[in-house]
Symmetry: C2
Subunit: 81 residues, 2 copies
DNA sequence: CACTTAAGTTCATTTATATGAACTATATTA
DNA sequence: TAATATAGTTCATATAAATGAACTTAAGTG
């Protein structure tokens, strides 16, 4: 089942950052300390990642949480909540 | 049960912003479209708010999500994840 | 071709959050 | 005092995310 629009851009953001940093799903999951099955389902927009999950990913990718949420598409959708 | 340190500063952030904007828990919950019971437990650090919940609160408070995560204490704890 | 390895997906189970109703506490006032 | 209203809390239930194992897929290689 497809989740909401807001979640879909968050999940896409994870994929974009992962590719940008040259990680496979498997590697990012392992090094972040989350399950690769979970990351797979998140990137396919099948679940909404928990905040603590996003924090682990950010820590692994070396970016601040506020910067995770600082990207173009997000501002178009926040108003729809 | 007390939740992790990272979550505690996120929950405190919600309380701080709510007070700053002169909302009661009841009013913020109602206007954000979340349950007041849930908000109560979040502010008491009994649960980790979902990202979509934080997004609703930010929308109601009129702040961007990236700014929600832009505050002093957060940088001290991200490295501990 | 058969085998191995790496990457990704699926799913049953465990664990956790969101809801809404019932409850407590406090203040106000008729 | 009894009644009402407002704010906040607790908890059973419903719903959803995280895990880990089993699975698929594809690439490479003896």
């Amino acid at each position: 089942m497809e989740k909401q629009l807001f979640n879909s851009i968050i999940c896409k953001r994870i994929t974009d950052l992962r590719i940008e940093h040259n990680f496979t799903k498997e590697k990012l999951a392992y090094e972040s300390g989350i399950s690769k099955g979970g990351l797979s389902e998140i990137e396919k927009n099948m679940k909404e990642p928990r905040l603590s999950t996003i924090a682990k990913l950010c820590s692994c990718l070396g970016i601040k949480i506020k910067d995770f949420f600082d990207f173009e598409e997000i501002d178009n959708f926040v108003n729809l909540l």
